[in-house]
């Protein structure tokens, strides 16, 4: 592959980030009626079916199938990011590999869980509400309580940026942000045990704060610098400077 083709491929993959964010917001958040999600731990099975799956059946089904497609855009974006976390000898070190692993697992989760919720919507009127609630709760616990797959991605990315003084793609503050955002996911461990308040599945912290900062405070700045690197602006500047020296 010649360098110009490679550059175009990288730019296309860098745009997978914004496509994921917008697509997931439209399909999962809006069509899926997840702003916020129903407070499953505080609802009976009948309430969950009547007030959520039964009430918005078609929209949720379409939204979740769309989310299952959009979710996987996260993976190529994360793998492109990994290629930008190289060691000085050009190899992918362990931090890049951890970031890649976290991105692959997170992408899988973002596709897998919506697929199950789509099944819940499609079966809402034909199977018992208890079974629907069991599938719904189990999937949310998988979705939220495996947060470490994203936390390790963010911690590895942050550690690379902060510790690697010679890298010039990402400013240091993005690394610190990534570390901080990864750690804010930890209260998700409380989600299965609380029925109300900020740490419930629809709570101010465990839903609004965490998803907002992950989607906007992580994806946007990192995506911006990835796109700049993919488009070659900084690489050209570095080459010019090295020639001048």
């Amino acid at each position: 592959m010649d360098s110009e083709t490679k550059r175009l491929v990288h730019i296309a993959i860098a745009w997978c980030g914004p496509v994921f964010v917008i697509g997931f917001l439209v399909f999962w958040a809006v069509l899926g009626h997840n702003v916020p999600p129903p407070n499953m731990m505080g609802m009976t099975s009948a309430q969950l079916v009547a007030e959520y799956y039964g009430k918005y059946q078609s929209e949720i089904a379409v939204g979740m199938i769309g989310s299952a497609t959009m979710g996987m855009f996260y993976t190529p974006w994360s793998l492109l990011l990994a290629t930008m976390l190289r060691d000085e000898d050009g190899s992918l070190g362990v931090l890049a590999l951890i970031e890649a692993a976290g991105g692959i697992l997170t992408g899988w989760l973002l596709a897998f869980c919506p697929a199950i919720w789509a099944a819940c919507a499609l079966l809402a009127t034909s199977v018992s509400p208890d079974l629907i609630k069991a599938m719904h709760v189990m999937t949310w616990i998988i979705f939220d309580c495996t947060y470490m797959i994203t936390t390790i991605q963010l911690l590895a990315l942050g550690a690379y940026i902060v510790l690697n003084k010679k890298q010039a793609i990402f400013p240091a503050w993005t690394g610190w942000c990534a570390i901080a955002i990864g750690i804010t996911f930890v209260p998700l461990v409380l989600m299965p045990f609380v029925t109300e308040g900020p740490f419930a599945v629809n709570g101010m912290w465990n839903f609004f704060f965490i998803f907002s900062i992950w989607l906007f405070a992580f994806q946007i700045p990192i995506g911006y610098f990835m796109l700049k690197e993919a488009m070659g602006h900084k690489r050209v500047a570095r080459q010019v400077l090295s020639h001048a020296n």
């Binding site: 240091a172 942000c177 609380v194 308040g197 740490f199 101010m204 704060f209």
Partner: protein, 192 residues
């Protein structure tokens, strides 16, 4: 013979200031969430707060303030190349950090034994969440202090060591300042 390291620049490095700023934003979000929830459930929060023993919190406040003072002394000693004083004050700071940890464990143990858990209500969810996150910062600070103390004999006198110790000092003071906000917020606000 090494000469004293003069400090004519702001303490620490840009990286640690950036980290502290971002950490401060995260804690600010926690405090904001807490206050927002408190306004919605005033009676619940007031009643739950009464089950906290403010003397644990007061003890931890005094411990961290004293520990911060020890770190200040250690930084001053490092700037004057006084190895023994650096090790002594860092050792005292570390011991005080340990006292904080013991006090915190005792408090958690008594709470959990009394049936007060993070899932009991949203006040206790916040109480455990905020204090545990802060506690992790204390543990990290103790690790950094121990590391600096261990390296003091070899490296006191170098600007790099002094800068590193200043970074640790900044972090430790930040941990202390956080507790000064956490203690009244969780233990005292609205208490009658």
């Amino acid at each position: 013979m090494t000469t004293a390291v003069q400090s004519s620049r702001p303490p620490g490095t840009d990286g640690v200031w950036t980290f502290l700023f971002i950490d401060m934003i995260i804690f600010w979000m926690m405090f904001l969430s807490f206050m927002s929830e408190r306004l919605r459930h005033v009676d619940l929060y007031a009643a739950s707060q009464l089950r906290l023993n403010e003397f644990f919190g007061l003890a931890n406040t005094l411990i961290l303030l004293t520990s911060s003072w020890m770190v200040v002394e250690a930084v001053q000693a490092a700037r004057r190349n006084e190895v023994r004083r650096v090790r002594r004050f860092l050792g005292l700071a570390w011991i005080l950090g340990l006292a904080f940890a013991v006090d915190k464990f005792a408090e958690y143990y008594l709470k959990i034994r009394a049936g007060v858990t993070p899932a009991a209500n949203s006040f206790y969810s916040f109480y455990f969440f905020i204090t545990i996150v802060h506690f992790f910062h204390v543990i990290a600070g103790m690790f950094f202090i121990a590391y600096c103390r261990g390296n003091a004999r070899l490296r006191v006198g170098s600007e790099r060591y002094v800068t590193g110790l200043e970074n640790v000092g900044l972090f430790w003071h930040f941990v202390d300042v956080l507790w000064i906000f956490i203690f009244p917020l969780l233990y005292l606000l609205g208490r009658r």
